[in-house]
């Protein structure tokens, strides 16, 4: 598993290859101000380590290396990023400043709560805001990502049934359009997955749903609006059918950016949902995380929340005074989902983001996200097949294929879009749409940006017909051309060699 780095062309050397034996950044650490203990005498020799195969570089090497690497990335700060189901909206800079205030950044998670009242107040307020936005009873901020929130939700559903002595429920229903995390989560919680087909309008097939609903169903996971980009017209009926068989309803909140001030899932009858703060409330995606996936529940599931969560332990003694906040673990909790209290830095960012919007701002977010997606939908409908061509939510799915040029695939269109300076939409998801391209423009983007994207997509369609090879070999303008994924999996180089390794 060691890389062969010499035979191929290298964009940027590995950090190990930039060093030289003995080179170091020596300004970072203080001199030892206590008597140094003689650990070589104190400790058994076979306990100590002699070799430490890490880079030997100067600070300037590190800075230049990572600045150059950053230049090889595309990002929201560079341009349009319509990655469906990911909500790549603008990440306000102020949120970054807020999370880095020393009073937050230097706060230890196990400090006595009386010495962390500001952080607890922020979390308490965020819990309440998140409950209000979706019409739920209670919130836990502990889950670290959407999939982690899903896991919390399904474990709560499981605990709820077991608590009632209802042990025969072994299945979770998941539509075939669902994110892969939904079935994976159900399995992790020990459930069997029942996959449900969608009807020709992209909604849940009610007949199929009625057929599978019985007293072995623990619940159903569904995304609203659906991953096909549409609001299920029968959502109330879906919820009723599942509730009638004793199952609970889980809403995957990945698409909450279409729902702020539009509808409260709790009022529709959902029992539990998760947020993705890194989508809806614009905490940055960070090249793959960290995220934050709070869970919101109604009163049925509130006793099962993962803890600890924040509550007021002593009301303010005077008007306008601050109450005393403390930790609280719900009495029938499913347990702890991670160490400490969640990705607090993300809570600070989301809190700041919601503060900057207020109720009216949040409503405007979803309205404009949906306006943008529908605009793209109608503008592309004469060039690309839109399989569910009705009013969509905050994203729209199109088919990346042309009947008259059968060798062009969604992937080719995506790669060619890179040459137009834009990030491609999500490819091949949802799985039930052939050659799917899932486009989520977000509210951050102006009409001009959308028009440029629409023009690029039309231009690519024309290119496909003129010379499909142009698409097959794209992209041409990116730091690397198409990469060989088969070789990566076959030779499996997951770790680099250590050059110039010297033993001290």
């Amino acid at each position: 598993m060691v890389a062969k780095t010499d035979a191929t062309k290298v964009l940027e050397p590995l950090i190990y290859d930039l060093g030289s034996p003995g080179r170091k950044a020596d300004t970072l650490l203080p001199k030892c101000d206590v008597p140094e203990s003689d650990f070589r005498a104190e400790l058994p020799a076979n306990l100590l380590r002699d070799e430490l195969p890490l880079p030997e570089v100067a600070e300037i090497d590190v800075v230049r290396h990572f600045v150059r690497l950053s230049g090889l990335n595309y990002a929201i700060d560079k341009g349009f990023y319509p990655l469906g189901s990911c909500t790549m909206k603008y990440n306000p800079k102020i949120d970054e400043d807020a999370a880095r205030i020393p009073g937050f950044a230097m706060l230890h998670p196990l400090q006595d709560p009386t010495t962390a009242q500001g952080a607890l107040a922020l979390m308490y307020t965020l819990q309440n805001w998140l409950a209000e936005i979706v019409g739920m009873e209670a919130v836990s901020l502990q889950p670290a990502a959407g999939a982690h929130g899903e896991f919390a939700g399904i474990l709560m559903i499981r605990a709820y049934h077991l608590d009632r002595g209802d042990t025969k429920r072994t299945k979770i229903i998941v539509p075939d359009s669902a994110h892969g995390t939904n079935p994976a989560t159900s399995t992790m919680a020990g459930y069997t997955v029942i996959e449900l087909p969608s009807d020709e309008r992209g909604d849940v097939d009610l007949e199929a749903l009625r057929k599978v609903c019985d007293d072995t169903i623990a619940g159903m996971m569904i995304t609203v609006p659906s991953t096909l980009g549409v609001f299920d017209e029968n959502i109330l009926e879906v919820i009723k059918i599942v509730h009638n068989c004793g199952g609970l309803m889980y809403m995957d909140g990945a698409n909450m950016n279409a729902l702020l001030g539009i509808v409260k899932p709790g009022e529709l009858g959902f029992d539990v949902l998760h947020y993705n703060l890194h989508k809806t409330f614009s905490t940055p995606h960070g090249g793959g995380g960290p995220g934050s996936g709070p869970v919101a529940v109604n009163s049925k599931l509130a006793p099962f929340l993962p803890g600890p969560i924040v509550k007021i332990v002593e009301e303010a003694s005077e008007d306008g005074g601050a109450p005393l906040y403390g930790w609280y673990t719900p009495e029938k909790t499913i347990g702890r989902l991670k160490a400490f209290h969640g990705n607090f830095g993300m809570h600070v960012r989301a809190f700041t983001y919601i503060s900057l919007h207020g109720a009216e701002g949040l409503k405007a977010i979803s309205r404009h996200a949906v306006l943008n997606a529908n605009y793209v939908r109608v503008k592309l409908a004469d060039t690309y097949k839109v399989p569910f061509n009705r009013h969509c939510g905050h994203e729209v799915v199109i088919e990346g294929r042309f009947p008259d040029v059968p060798d062009v695939h969604a992937l080719d269109i995506s790669k060619r879009l890179m040459d137009y300076g834009m990030h491609p939409p999500t490819n091949y998801f949802p799985l039930i749409v052939p050659e799917a391209l899932l486009i989520e423009p977000t509210e951050s983007e102006s009409k001009e940006t959308l028009d440029k994207f629409i023009d690029a997509m039309k231009s690519i369609a024309a290119e496909a017909r003129q010379d499909s090879n142009l698409l097959h070999s794209a992209p041409y303008t990116t730091p690397v051309s198409r990469v060989d994924e088969v070789q990566a999996a076959k030779q499996l180089v997951l770790c680099c060699r250590v050059p110039n390794f010297s033993t001290e």
């Binding site: 020596d26 970072l28 090249g287 160490a339 900057l356 890179m418 990030h423 770790c495």
Partner: protein
């Protein structure tokens, strides 16, 4: 709001769509529930929002005016300036998961370097991109052990000296999978007692190194015994300790996990942190999370790409190794920069400074009347102090009189460890702070 639309834009877009108002686009939402009120405060300007969070942050006792001796899984190590400057580059932090390698070579190469450094540091053969934190890394290690034996072995032996929250998280993760956890019920089981629990149903034995109490247990011969029973050995490590002490891979671990927060990531009240996960190569197809591999592009340039993808939820769905999708990518970048910057020489120096200062503090405290330091086993940067009165009372005194945030009250997790305080000392604690702590502890007893 961050919405660029003008009135003219909206009108033109609505006309193109063929509706009169934005509201018309929501007709599929049940009318009775459509457009609810949101009971939220009015929007603040950027300036006001900043004042608001600054005021909240100001209500926390954190920052340079406090001396921190609290660890227990989250440590106050120094984070070099370079890290924050790099993390604030929008090219890194406003990018998504690197699904499109042509547009993500920066992120991909950085994670490849992270994987490499973690593998080298732990003495293992491969590592993944990251988990949510050390505790969830450990829970996923249990999943690997469970699936490795396809259900034929479902017993996992936990040392009681593993961080209590890590053990709790592993139990939360596995409440529906049929895994049985044993070994940590009494709180006093020794390594020999755990070895006695090995049998043909054991999938994995897990220990922490240094353990939750900062001690280094004698692990020689452990892996041989675990392997002789046909089970896997998981070692939870402190990455800073790995710079000074024998690598866990050297002890024969099959899986090494841990918390990467020590690698230049601020305390931030518990997150975002970073779980790392390293393994031997024969288990690599069974682990969760993203893995970056080296390859070439069509023109023969070296390139990096997410690999072994068929383990993951978006492809394997209910048969995936885990549901994990978003991980802690940017934190792995922070850890990667930290390891590069500290490097071979600096990381060892960080570890030695921690060792010297912790031992200086322990020596002083052990001289105090009424206090004793548990030194039966070697320790690294944390140690247990038996106090003359409840830790809660002592900590209140330290805080009020000295601006010192004292150690962790072990009676919260171990009822038989009344009056025992777990003290952490790192390179950021000055001699003056340590001397203050010693004086304060002495006075707290009088």
């Amino acid at each position: 709001m961050y919405i660029p639309h003008t009135e003219a834009d909206r009108a033109a877009m609505l006309a193109a769509i063929g509706v009169k108002s934005i509201e018309e686009l929501f007709e599929a939402v049940p009318a009775a529930k459509r457009f609810p009120e949101l009971n939220l405060p009015e929007a603040l300007s950027e300036m006001e929002a900043l004042w608001n969070v600054q005021s909240l942050a100001g209500a926390n006792a954190a920052g340079s005016e406090y001396a921190l001796f609290l660890g227990a899984g989250a440590y106050n190590h120094y984070s070099p300036s370079v890290i924050n400057h790099m993390l604030l580059r929008g090219e890194f932090y406003t990018a998504y998961t690197p699904y499109q390698p042509e547009l993500s070579q920066g992120t991909l190469q950085a994670i490849f370097e992270w994987q490499s450094m973690i593998a080298h540091l732990t003495g293992m053969e491969a590592a993944n991109a990251s988990h949510y934190d050390g505790a969830t890394s450990f829970a996923e290690a249990v999943t690997v052990a469970n699936t490795h034996f396809r259900g034929a072995r479902n017993k996992v032996i936990l040392s009681p000296n593993i961080h209590p929250q890590y053990r709790a998280v592993a139990r939360t993760y596995h409440q529906g999978t049929g895994v049985r956890f044993v070994g940590d019920k009494s709180g006093s089981a020794k390594l020999e007692d755990l070895i006695d629990l090995l049998d043909e149903k054991t999938a994995m034995l897990a220990i922490q190194y240094p353990n939750f109490f900062g001690q280094i247990e004698n692990m020689h011969g452990l892996a041989e015994k675990v392997h002789a029973a046909g089970a896997l050995l998981c070692i939870i490590v402190d990455p800073i300790a790995c710079a000074m002490f024998r690598a866990p891979g050297d002890y024969g671990a099959d899986i090494v996990v841990g918390e990467g927060q020590s690698l230049g990531i601020p305390l931030s009240f518990g997150g975002p942190y970073l779980g790392f996960f390293a393994t031997k190569k024969d288990l690599v197809r069974k682990i969760a999370g993203r893995i970056i591999g080296e390859t070439v592009d069509q023109d023969g340039r070296r390139a990096y790409v997410m690999t072994l993808r068929p383990r993951e939820q978006d492809i394997r769905r209910e048969k995936a190794t885990s549901n994990i999708c978003t991980n802690q990518g940017l934190m792995a970048l922070a850890g990667c920069i930290y390891l590069a910057l500290m490097g071979k020489h600096g990381l060892r120096r960080v570890a030695e400074l921690c060792y010297h200062k912790a031992h200086y503090a322990a020596d002083q405290i052990s001289e105090l009347p009424g206090y004793s330091v548990q030194q039966r086993l070697p320790f690294f940067k944390e140690f247990v102090v038996k106090c003359p009165k409840p830790v809660k009372d002592i900590n209140a005194f330290l805080f009020e009189e000295y601006n010192i945030i004292g150690g962790y009250d072990l009676s919260q997790d171990y009822p038989d460890r009344e009056n025992e305080m777990l003290i952490a000392v790192t390179e950021t604690n000055t001699r003056a702070e340590i001397d203050d702590l010693v004086e304060a502890l002495d006075r707290a007893n009088n």
